[in-house]
Symmetry: C2
Subunit: 148 residues, 2 copies
C-alpha cells in the first residue's frame, strides 16, 4: 500500500511512457509532499532533483499522470470557475458531465461519515464539499449509446 518511487516509475513505463529526468523529478516532488502542490510549486521543488525542469513539462506530466491514475487533481478553494446561488440549508451538487447542468441535492446525510473521519484523523471538521458527477436524465436520452 506504500506508494514508492519505483512502483510509480514502473507504472509509467508499463503504460508505454518514458521515464525521463523531468518526470523523475516531478514524482519525487509529489512523493516528498504531504499536501497537494500547484504546478508552480511542483516545478520549484522538482528543480532540486532536476535543475532545468520547466513549467510546461510539469503541466504536461501532471496531465499524463492524472490520465494514468498516478496523480489526481485536487480542487482548491480559490480560483473556482463557477458560481451559483447558495441555497439556504445545506446542499450538494450533481453536475452533468455532458451538458454541465447542475441539480442541487437537498439534505445532507454525511454526519456519521464525517464523525468517523474526525475520529480517525484527529481533525476538527469545519466544513465539507461534495460534488457528484454523472449524466442527467435529459442527456441520457439524447446520447442513448454513445460511449467514450
Amino acid at each position: 500500500m506504500t506508494t514508492d518511487f519505483d512502483t510509480l516509475a514502473q507504472q509509467l513505463r508499463d503504460e508505454g511512457h518514458k521515464l525521463t529526468q523531468p518526470r523523475r523529478a516531478i514524482l519525487h516532488a509529489l512523493l516528498d509532499s504531504s499536501k497537494p502542490l500547484s504546478p508552480a510549486e511542483i516545478q520549484e521543488r522538482g528543480q532540486t532533483y532536476y535543475a532545468d525542469l520547466g513549467l510546461v513539462t510539469v503541466y504536461r506530466t501532471l496531465e499524463l499522470m492524472a490520465d494514468i491514475g498516478i496523480a489526481r487533481a485536487v480542487h482548491l478553494a480559490d480560483h473556482c470557475h463557477g458560481y451559483a446561488l447558495a441555497t439556504p440549508g445545506h446542499t450538494h451538487h450533481v453536475v452533468c458531465k455532458h451538458c454541465h447542468g447542475v441539480t442541487e441535492i437537498v439534505g445532507c446525510e454525511l454526519g456519521a461519515f464525517l464523525a468517523s473521519v474526525a475520529d480517525r484523523t484527529g481533525y476538527t471538521i469545519t466544513g465539507h464539499w461534495l460534488e457528484i458527477s454523472g449524466i442527467c436524465p435529459t442527456c441520457q436520452q439524447n446520447l442513448p449509446e454513445s460511449k467514450h
Copy 2:
C-alpha cells in the same frame, strides 16, 4: 425556502452593503440560471439587466456574495490548481484550513448516499468528489484559542 430577489437584496443591505444596479443585475442573472455560471457568463447575462455591467464588478460582487453566503463557488472539473499523488483505492481528502496539509481518508462509505441521489435525481452517477476541511491536530495545538 424559495430564494427570491428581495430576500437576497435585503441580505446584502443587512450586511451593510449598497444595493447597486450592477449588483441587482448579477443577482438576477444568478436567479435566472439553473446551473453555475462563470464570471464571464454572469456578466453577459447580467447585461440584459444593466447594460454597462463590467467584468471587474462581477468578480468583486461574487467575492462579496460568497463572503456573505449568498453565493457559492462551484468547483468545476477543469482548471484545478493542485495535484497530489493518487493513493491506490478510493480516497477522500481532509484539508487543514490553517496549514493546508492534506490527510487522505481511505475507504469510501458513500455508496448508499449516492444510490439515493441517483434515485432522486434520475442521474447516472459516474463519479464523486468529496473534500473535507478542518483543522489538523498539529494546528489545533499551535492555535489553541485563536478564532476566525
